[in-house]
Symmetry: C3
Subunit: 363 residues, 3 copies
């Protein structure tokens, strides 16, 4: 499959310059690009790599002197990553999943499949599950009993969706994600040491050792439209009501959401972030990689947390935070600088003590 | 399926008040509850939400004035989460797995299945595996060669259990858990930089770059009774002896246990906690989410660690810890408070130096 | 299967002493060993456990007085873990996967399988995939369209490899690993709060709330020879070029590599380590468990990072680091010691202030 520069310019919403009839087959970095490739160099810092490119066409930064690189055609873009969105959608070769219902799939007769649904080899669709028009379920997936997947979903291989989970339209799910595992909820017959520690912030208060009794999850998981879930994520069922994820929210790989968590719309949770039970995360939040959120905490709209931030108490809307435990990013920077000067500070104080002691005595 | 208030009260070990013949079909939060729902409001802080409830019956805190909410019946409980255990077990609708051996399952003829065992669609049971009476193996599971699963197990979908793993009775396993992966154990022909760093606490001591040779895992994994393993957990085989998990211990999602780890009984390991090789964790321990334990460390009975605690040295029994690296929770709180005052302390010391310098000169 | 002490000594490259014709069936720790077991006690600290052993033969440390333990034969080794490598390879009982192509596997007719390839039950091999001679694909695996797996691979169960992934020879993959998931890459139409925070280190600068547009992954994953990937790892596709892992590199369980990451050769990434997009990690690096690397960072050859180190900026070759954020291990130790003395320092400074104030006034 090939595309003209004119077609690509239209897809990314930019203007083509030069010979817009030049065709390309794929995208490449400037140094790797051959004559059939569209070289990508969207900022001046990649200009040097263009000098020796074998590409005939390139996507360049606004105002680039494209002719100086010996190109036949170019597309000039203002916001490079937005151009990447259009471009990569157009050139995505996909996973090669074969359309249609594979004969090896195990589909319960009570399941309801929409028009043009594809079910990959060896997938299991359980009783009364419903899958919307145009959705693609990859190989080795399981859609649980009474679960609902909306229209135009794309599930990669080995995704499992538990009973009664409901998911909106245009859902994308990476391999191995688990949606609708049971919540981690246990109780001891009498007050436990951990309960006392929470109250006293450190004292088990003589609580005796006990075995745990299980609290089952009666709720399920409820996911909005345009959500993407990363590879090997785990999302637990709610205890009574459903765990919820709002429209347009995206989870990176290995993210964990506990029972009863609510995540708002258009929020990003980056790789290996873990969210404990009953946490409430707002809209347009960004938690960078390996963040953690303690149970029952509220994270307001528009909060941004740096990598590995551990959130142990409520965070008001709009705040930018970092650290373990989380503080404002400014404060974290101050603390961090001060820490590095701590050994010197120790020496200064020791010297001061000697001087002052001498002064105090001499007085 | 419906239940009378009398039946539920008996299941949770509490007393019904009002018309105990009222029937309910499911549980709900007070604001979501309809006439067929049992409203759950087990502490006075949920009382307000009850005022407008459409529910006819509720589970309430001890001494609640249940009639003031217009209810026909109520169940009054002293320890709410214990009541939740009984209640949710009774009302759990399950995953809709169909009983019996699904014809698409691949079962080795030498495998031994107990009475009333269910094997889900597309599961694989390998040679000489044994599964105890009443156990349910979900869809897409694998039970490895010579592995043993006890009675009354419940495995969700896509669980894999390696060769020679042995598991006790009433085992619960969430989707995608991996039990019996090989340990991560490699060695360089000569002493490596990492080995020198361990000895010197920071110096590679000129060790040369080398390739790794693999140490295979000859041991397997040994799991007691009443254990639950979370979604996408990974539990490695032991090198010579087995990795071990004691009775009644529960692992949350994405927990990782390295080779040779021993975990005692009735211990909780919360989400994304990672335990390195040859760690020994006692009984009745609680490690909160995202904790880490360095290899060869001992964690005594009854230890409680706050979220994201990184344990790098032995912890005596009963201690309550937090931080990176782990310290007593009290100490952590003191350090944390002091850190936040550090920038001010820096300014105070700078001012003191000036004053003292002036005094010292003037003297 | 049994082995003579002579055979084992040859496999581990050491000398047998005593009756080298004694046969053993397996290895065991001294206290667990019976007459058919080879007791392993490779350092004097395990000598005491040997006193009561029922084993007839043992692997012992160099210069051990083997006859004093009543053994018939012994193998004396200089570098115990290297001996373990040879020994465990020899005694590994494997997973009991049945050789050959299982009839339940779904293999596309365009896939190309080498000589002596085994495909486990219910595995899926997609169009134009190629698998090299002698490779073993376990149960429930998926090899994607146009993917290439080299010779002598060993894949445990439920591994998935996406389209166009290429892997060298002697690949070992633990259960549930995901290779070739899509990168986590999204963009807002206009500049976002997170972009402003990166620039200002803390200020969202009034950016408005927006929804995300997806950047697709056009690249795939490229893995060298002799690589091992742990259970439930996730490795994302590159955006334009491939994500890359060099020869001899080993990933422990639940490691995450983002899009465009390059990892050199002979590097170890331990359990639950997370690497953000476009990170460049050198050769012979060791990142201990739960490390994190921020996006676009460079980690030089031979770097060693302690457990839970969070790397947020470039690290020069050979450095030994620790902490959040990462600093030299020496510095980390100094900061940590100073932190623990902080509360006392606070009190000292308060006392100094009083004394100085008194002196200053009295003057």
């Amino acid at each position: 499959m090939t595309y003209t520069i004119a077609e690509i310019a239209e897809a990314v919403g930019a203007t083509a310059v030069g010979d817009a009839s030049v065709t390309i087959a794929r995208a490449a970095e400037p140094k790797d690009a051959g004559p059939d490739d569209l070289a990508l160099a969207m900022s001046p810092k990649y200009g040097e790599a263009l000098v020796d490119t074998k590409a005939q066409a390139a996507v360049l930064w606004q105002n680039a002197d494209w002719q100086s690189y010996g190109l036949k055609a170019a597309i000039l873009v203002g916001r490079p990553r937005m151009a990447m969105a259009g471009l990569t959608q157009m050139l995505d070769a996909g996973q090669g999943f074969i359309p249609g219902i594979h004969p090896s799939a195990v589909i319960d007769p009570t399941a309801i499949l929409g028009d043009n649904v594809s079910i990959g080899p060896l997938s299991v669709i359980m009783s009364h599950a419903r899958i919307g028009d145009g959705s693609v379920i990859g190989p080795h997936c399981m859609i649980g009993a009474d679960a609902v997947v909306g229209q135009q979903a794309f599930l990669r291989e080995m995704v499992s969706i538990g009973a009664r989970v409901t998911i909106g339209d245009r859902f994308i799910c990476q391999p191995g994600a688990r949606i609708g595992s049971d919540g981690f909820s246990f109780v001891t017959p009498e007050v436990s040491g951990a309960e006392n520690v929470r109250k006293t912030l450190g004292d088990q208060d003589g609580a005796k050792a006990q075995s745990y009794v299980r609290i089952h999850s009666l709720g399920s998981v409820e996911i909005g439209d345009d959500v993407e879930i990363g590879a090997n994520c785990t999302i637990d069922n709610g205890t009574i009501r459903n765990t919820q994820i709002g429209n347009g929210t995206k989870l990176d790989n290995q993210v964990h959401l506990g029972h009863n968590v609510r995540v708002g719309h258009d929020t990003l949770l980056c790789g290996q972030t873990g969210v404990s039970g009953s946490v409430d995360i707002g809209n347009n939040v960004v938690l960078a990689g390996q963040c953690g959120v303690a149970d029952n905490v509220f994270v307001g709209d528009g909060v941004i947390a740096g990598g590995a931030t551990k959130i142990v108490s409520n965070v008001p809307a709009g705040r930018v935070i970092m650290g373990y435990p989380a503080v404002k990013m400014d404060t974290h920077t101050d603390i961090y600088k001060a820490q590095r000067r701590l050994p010197r500070l120790m020496r200064d104080v020791a010297a001061l003590k000697m001087t002052v002691s001498k002064l105090d005595t001499s007085e």
